[in-house]
Subunit: 156 residues, 3 copies
């Protein structure tokens, strides 16, 4: 069992099944040693669990949970990309977090930390990543966040 | 004639001239085997043909046409990057689609499919891509969509 | 002294200290010869100097200054990534510029030119980059712009 599998168990995290893309694209593409993961929503079993904007529809703390859930979906995709062999994951590279924001809301970083903290807790130093957190006027399926991830892996 | 050229002919698609950047940047940069295409608008001959937000200014079906047109512009840039030799294109990697959205509009994926479906119809499996579709409050020249593309190519 | 150092001196530019990330991530990650710089704000000494939306809070010319300042922060990060050896920088690759925009504002490219022009003036041809400029409903710390950068460097 890899260190990451142990960490997931220790944290009580069970990764979900890879979410089906909501349209005509694929969950990830690998190119040049990088895995580009498609934008992930805070969904489980195909149903968005956190919808609306911050702070009107939910507070920061709840939106942070949503960012964590979307990131779990992104990690499920990474696991598929490495055929469940976490030893092939070199590191997280870049996280993009879009937060559905009411005008005047400017704490996107606090929301995005739900994604960042998860990566750090699972991968340690290899989980440190570059990040852009941005406010969006609207998001697919009215999700409160959308998370995009690039991870570096060892080619087979 | 490459397979892609044949496909374009078969689909009745004539790629436009490479749109001039609307400001101080270049249409693409190649680095590490990837072509980064600048954000493309639904324009022809320098004029944006689809402007405003969804659904106020246009319906989903029309916005989808706009996404297709912006993607044709992106492909014109890719063609320039490979000096019109489509055999050098390995695959599409990542598509970013920003949709100018009214508050509450959450069907960005349906709009973005105008871009995705075009890539699939031209490149087949090599057209499958990772994607992020996001709602934007406002876009350059009041365009309804902006499309960003990363493609993998063979170095010369 | 490298050509870039000379150019910076000639332009009277002193790069700031690397801004501390405002949350749980790192200023940059290097992978596959590319440096991914985290989203940078128009801040100095940890304080955002340009806040609000365009054109309500400020005009295009002022927002352009903000884009320039955020890009100086991004370049401070690149300098750290190459350990102050600018000869290791091959070229700029991709610039993402989010502009906090009031509905109907569509001149994000003019704002983003504050970032692009700076890169060109410092790096010359190596400063030419692909770019996406997008309107955002809201940004971290109420910043008027957020700038994301990818640069290509020589591995050690």
């Amino acid at each position: 069992m890899s260190v990451v599998d142990e960490k997931l168990t220790q944290l009580g995290i069970v990764l979900p099944a890879v979410p089906k893309p909501v349209a005509a694209y694929v969950p990830y593409v690998e190119a040049g040693g990088l895995v580009y993961v498609s934008g992930q929503l805070p969904s489980r079993d195909g149903k968005v669990l956190y919808s609306g904007s911050v702070p009107k529809a939910m507070d920061i703390s709840t939106a942070r949970e949503a960012a964590r859930l979307a990131t779990l979906n992104a990690l499920a995709v990474v696991r598929e990309a490495v055929n469940a062999d976490w030893n092939r994951v070199i590191r997280m590279v870049r996280l993009g977090v879009f937060v559905q924001s009411d005008p005047g809301f400017d704490q996107q970083p606090q929301v995005a930390n739900g994604a960042s903290d998860l990566l750090l807790s699972i991968f340690g130093d290899a989980g440190r990543h570059a990040r852009a957190a941005v406010g969006a006027a609207a998001l697919p399926l009215n999700a409160v966040v959308e998370v995009e991830l690039i991870a570096q892996i060892k080619p087979i």
